[in-house]
Symmetry: C2
Subunit: 396 residues, 2 copies
């Protein structure tokens, strides 16, 4: 009955009528700007967007049918968001319905909100957003970790969220290609000497290998897997995370580091995006975001570990703090790899792309790369969030 | 056709005739002395044991039907042994046939060999055994790790070897019960003050929590999961590992630490098992075993990492050495938990049980517990195998 077929605009409206729980849906618009999926906004008779339909395509959209990609990612995305929504409903997009055969999700409409990255690029501040993202990370990661989950449930979920094809993308784009000569890399040619120096930096390569190894083997919690400011809607005192198709059981620091890395990318890009005084002001706000995100994440996670841990050994007083030091180290390292893969590698971000002045762009990219390298190399000498912020300022 | 039924002696003979590839099988004897399974030796017309049939029971044999246990463990055992046999045929028992419905394995007969623990208890030395076990560990663990396995294959195997019920036993017996007041614990009452001091040792409890957390979350390689001297047959220049039903993807140091822990348990027990001069001599041999096992394991694993790593990031020169330092730390910690769980906890070993003199037994157990505690607490100060051996001598 529900064999896979690619949705037309009319199909999307019909499907939304059936499963969206909203009357008077009449029209749709395909707005997918990502690399992988169809995304339809479904409008009511007043022309208001009420429902979102997202359908996975059986190939990488931005490449074409020559790069096939599993439809199973729609199941994973929907199930990750359902689980995250169970533990942090306030910051997880609501899934109204999903069909694994059609690889379709019906979601709440978030059109009244804005994508955080776009707002950061324009220099618009959302002072609550960083803490809210910290809250999301703490609640979703704690409750899917060994602290809280029954071991049988966790083992079953590790198997259920096996996500080989999407993890493959991360394994390549984060941990391999930026440190190799690779056709997919996207850095400015002027930075060739800097990028070449990454390839031959033994200490850096060994630390990146260790980070990749932890990405491959440390099943600490059910990650979102792609937490960046383009996967986050913000509004007045509201934050909603979307796009969890990269979800799998991995190291907690990967999600936290990706989140911080995108804030720091924006920090590095701001001098190219805004006039000097505005840029300086926005940079301070971004550093505040970095501090607030980490503080809320770590405080909330530790409070949950102290109060709600179910595992008898991990509940021992003080173990949460010991484990948080490990998360911090991982966070710094993965944050560094995010800075590098978004500048050297294939997946470039609007924060950099929107810089018009070529010289300025190169300087911003240079800063992001050197900061990334510092975080990967010096993680063990960066003891806490204040030390991180001092390093960021030192970097330029 | 092959629905589960408990084998009689006659069933076992019939089954061995069908799947053992040996003619003239006429008789059988149930010899299972473990806690979980039926084990039949199948004899030919000359009364020579030719084939082993092992059948999992749907409950814990030594407790009874009140403690049910999954039959899926027979599948896991057979598949782990098949994979380990693919990478280290010389030291893995050969599986001739298995049936997941009947939870039955048909295996090569190893009656000409002896269980290593029994030999160690008697003071019989097998000078090649430790290096052979190191070889087994290096080959099986390297080839099932991220260094060698394709990420898709590894992820599929992590799911395939999800082993919740058997892991549960380890999680309880290794990491919880010895550090709690628990009815299943089996230490001598005279050691109550020492054992009580473990429960309140914050640093110890935090390190044990971290080890348990790594056991729960670090899917580094397909472990045997229960490598102890009672799961190993030895003979002249021969060693065969059996009993892999605890297999799952876990931290490499768990298998290596369990193996070393059992050698050190024997070291601690020897003064109670042999007359003083023999005991002193056997203890030196055991320390040599400890050194040889680690050396062969680490050298072989590093050679494989240097030559056969398929992962581009993990193949970076020197990463194997960096990772080996992590394995070493884990090995010390898990070795410490093995020493404690075999003396304080439920699963006592013959090395200790066979000591007749009660005062001597208490002294040997005390030594094993204090050594275990030292290894868990001081792992970061024990840099290499010589430092470990120095610590063992210091302990008494």
């Amino acid at each position: 009955m529900s064999q896979y077929r690619t949705f037309t605009a009319a199909d999307a409206v019909e499907y939304a009528r059936q499963f969206g729980g909203v009357a008077d849906l009449v029209d749709s618009l395909e707005v997918g700007d990502g690399n992988l999926n169809l995304v339809f906004k479904i409008f009511d008779t007043k022309g208001i967007s009420r429902i979102i339909i997202k359908q996975a395509l059986p190939y990488v959209r931005c490449v074409g049918e020559s790069w096939p990609l599993t439809l199973d990612r729609a199941r994973i995305e929907a199930e990750v968001l359902n689980i995250h929504g169970q533990f942090c409903p306030e910051h997880t997009v609501k899934i109204l319905h999903y069909d694994p055969q059609l690889a379709v999700m019906v979601m709440e409409d978030l059109s009244s909100l804005a994508i955080w990255r776009g707002e950061q690029v324009k220099g618009v501040d959302y002072p609550q957003a960083a803490a809210q993202l910290g809250e999301y990370l703490a609640k979703t990661l704690f409750h899917t970790s060994d602290f809280f989950q029954h071991p049988h449930q966790k083992k079953a979920d590790v198997a259920r969220f096996t996500n080989p094809e999407l993890c493959d993308i991360t394994e390549e784009l984060f941990f391999n290609e930026p440190y190799e000569v690779h056709e997919r890399n996207g850095y400015p040619r002027a930075l060739e000497p800097l990028v070449a120096s990454l390839r031959t930096d033994d200490a850096l390569r060994l630390n990146v290998a260790a980070l990749k190894h932890r990405f491959l083997s440390n099943a600490e919690a059910l990650l979102h897997g792609d937490v960046h400011s383009g996967s986050i809607f913000v509004g007045d005192n509201t934050l909603k995370v979307i796009d969890a198709e990269f979800g799998y059981y991995g190291p907690i620091g990967f999600d936290v580091g990706s989140a911080l890395g995108n804030l720091l990318l924006n920090y590095c890009a701001l001098p190219g995006l805004l006039v000097p005084r505005e840029a300086a002001d926005a940079r301070e706000k971004r550093l505040n975001d970095v501090r607030r995100l980490w503080r809320r994440f770590s405080e909330r996670f530790l409070a949950l570990a102290a109060e709600n841990s179910r595992d008898r050994a991990l509940a021992y007083p003080g173990y949460g703090d010991a484990f948080m030091r490990k998360i911090w180290q991982d966070t710094l390292g993965f944050c560094g790899t995010e800075l590098i893969r978004r500048t050297v590698g294939m997946s470039q971000v609007a924060d950099i792309k929107e810089i018009d002045d070529e010289t300025m762009k190169i300087e911003c990219v240079r800063q992001a790369i050197t900061l990334g390298r510092t975080l990967i190399l010096a993680a063990h000498q960066i003891d806490d969030i204040d030390a991180l912020i001092a390093r960021v300022r030192q970097n330029g």
